[in-house]
């Protein structure tokens, strides 16, 4: 049994002459919390797309636990426990929060294809969905249409959908993006409350979150992994500073 939750070997991807991923070799041991940081356009979301199968690599392999998942379609990878959230909410606007999460639970339990029995016969699935929402303090609004929820609450539904799939490896793409300070408390609590059995990789720009939740940090620049280490090591690394400082100087000038 592999001690590594997720590993990539030599992952490559380019669009014509634009290289978005170059020889990415990552190893995520089980249970560790990783933060993936880097300037915009470094290829962080692309990496998640490659890992989850939404993008096909030009070369390399992806291994989840003991299984080589490089050739598997996205839904199969989810079934094996590799789950992601999206940077921009990808929700079901006209479904209620409860319906959305129930759907995810039903898909996991492979009962979503039964068309001859009523949804109300699946009390277990509905209860499980309700419990997930309750743990995220969303129980009072679970019967509201997703589109009517506040942005912070929608972001929590985004995470609820991922949790419903019972992930072994969870990839969070900027979970706090766009969430105003007042609403981010539940979000941070949710991330902190994630079970230690789940290996988490999250993309973040907010260094607060990175220092609070990550035990290791990966820095990506221009489609490559620049360096990897503990948050303290990364903060002190001159190369990382150059990347960010240079960026800050550029932003100040324009």
């Amino acid at each position: 049994m592999s001690a590594n939750a997720l590993a990539t070997h030599g992952l490559n991807k380019n669009f014509g002459s634009l290289v978005v991923a170059s020889d990415i070799a990552l190893v995520l041991p089980q249970g560790v919390r990783y933060a993936l940081i880097g300037p915009n356009g470094a290829g962080k979301t692309t990496l998640i797309n490659l890992m989850t199968g939404m993008l096909q690599p030009d070369g390399g392999r992806i291994v989840l636990g003991d299984d080589d998942i490089t050739a598997l379609p996205p839904e199969e990878r989810v079934r094996l426990g590799l789950v992601r959230t999206f940077q921009i909410n990808q929700l079901f606007p006209h479904l209620t929060a409860l319906e959305s999460v129930t759907l995810a639970v039903c898909e996991r339990r492979k009962v979503a294809r039964t068309w001859w029995r009523q949804l109300t016969a699946y009390g277990d699935e509905i209860d499980e969905a309700y419990d997930i929402l309750a743990a995220l303090s969303l129980a009072p609004v679970c019967h509201r249409l997703t589109r009517e929820l506040a942005y912070g609450q929608q972001r929590l539904v985004e995470i609820a959908l991922a949790l419903a799939a019972k992930p072994k490896v969870l990839l969070l793409d900027e979970p706090a993006a766009g969430v105003p300070r007042e609403e981010s408390r539940e979000l941070f609590a949710a991330i902190a409350g994630l079970s230690r059995d789940i290996t988490v990789l999250f993309i973040e720009h907010d260094m607060d979150l990175v220092f609070r939740f990550a035990s290791r940090v990966i820095v990506m620049v221009g489609g490559r992994v620049l360096v990897e280490g503990t948050p303290a090591e990364i903060a002190a690394d001159p190369r990382v500073r150059a990347v960010y400082l240079g960026k800050a100087r550029h932003e100040a000038a324009s």
Partner: protein, 330 residues
């Protein structure tokens, strides 16, 4: 919907959502009115019931799963010709005809679903259009079996359940079609309220998110497409049996296009939208049947423009919107 602490358990809440509403009961009771109020129009009523069933099948793939098909009449036609040929070759038992039509249409739907599921946007529209047109041409060419332009001759429907003979006033025809519509509607309603129905709505709401929660989207679409084809086939068989004729227009582009208009008129994704739309459209067409067909399409064109611009969710959508506004005011 209010947001405060729900005293009702989620299961009970969902159960309440799925219960039969009085408006539904009223609708089905109203479908019995033609027997009493307008006995001269029973033949038309029978046509409306059959078309409503056909439009319902389109709603399942368009309104619930989001597949835009311009060739759905292909399955209607397959069902019609299957039932017609079975009768012509000597076995006119109507319920058997329905079964045979369901099987043939379902088979054809299942096979084409593998093609349909791989496309979106313009390519999907063109593929479905192409399938319909190919079938139409094939039926035209194979006139030795389909009767070609003149249609199928020699269909004779045996009494339904051994007792109900088709009469010229249309009592049996309407009773039979209405019963068929109601039974299949019950099945469709059950599908919509099942976990599968929820999955379909998920596909329609956000096709991108579905694989990310582990949903086998292609398998789901193939299933509903096959089911919709079966229902369309049954509708076609009903037409063949009640009118004792089948012609090429049963699988023509005109029928696919008209069906689309009816569904949009009534409102997609609401199960009853197709039924309402079919009723309104066909009654209007009957009333204006004296009109030159050119002018009919002028008004339909204007209607389409109006519906898309002013009433994007059709009649039922407009009514729902109105009901919400009134609730807010009170």
């Amino acid at each position: 919907m209010t947001s405060e602490a729900i005293p009702v358990r989620p299961l009970q809440y969902l159960q309440a959502q799925m219960r039969w509403r009085w408006s539904e009961a009223a609708f089905w009771l109203a479908t019995l009115l033609p027997f009493v109020l307008t006995p001269n129009y029973l033949v038309l009523a029978s046509q409306i019931a059959i078309t409503a069933l056909f439009v319902l099948s389109l709603d399942l793939i368009l309104g619930y799963a989001g597949i835009v098909s311009l060739g759905h009449a292909a399955y209607f036609g397959v069902g019609a010709y299957t039932a017609g040929l079975l009768s012509k070759w000597g076995f006119g038992e109507p319920l058997t005809g329905l079964l045979a039509a369901a099987i043939m249409a379902g088979l054809f739907g299942y096979l084409t679903s593998f093609i349909v599921v791989r496309f979106r946007h313009l390519a999907l529209i063109m593929i479905t259009l192409g399938i319909g047109l190919v079938l139409q041409e094939a039926a035209n060419s194979a006139s030795w079996i389909t009767g070609g332009f003149d249609g199928l001759q020699g269909i004779h429907t045996w009494p339904i359940l051994g007792k109900f003979r088709l009469d010229i006033y249309g009592y049996t025809a309407y009773g039979y079609s209405l019963a068929g519509l109601f039974v299949v509607f019950l099945v469709a309603r059950r599908i919509i309220h099942s976990p599968f129905g929820l999955a379909l709505r998920g596909i329609r709401e956000n096709g991108l998110r579905m694989p990310a929660i582990g949903a086998p989207v292609h398998a789901h679409i193939r299933t509903i497409y096959t089911i919709a084809a079966i229902i369309a086939g049954i509708a076609g068989a009903l037409l063949a049996e009640t009118t004792e004729t089948v012609s090429l227009e049963a699988l023509g582009f005109q029928r696919s296009a008209d069906e689309l208009v009816m569904l949009i008129l009534g409102g997609t994704g609401r199960l009853y939208g197709g039924l309402i739309g079919a009723a309104v459209y066909m009654v209007a067409r009957d009333q204006f049947s004296g009109l030159n067909p050119q002018y009919w399409y002028f008004w339909i064109g204007l209607l389409l423009i109006a519906v898309v611009t002013l009433l994007p969710n059709g009649i039922l959508g407009g009514l729902a919107h109105l009901a919400r506004r009134m609730k807010v005011k009170s």
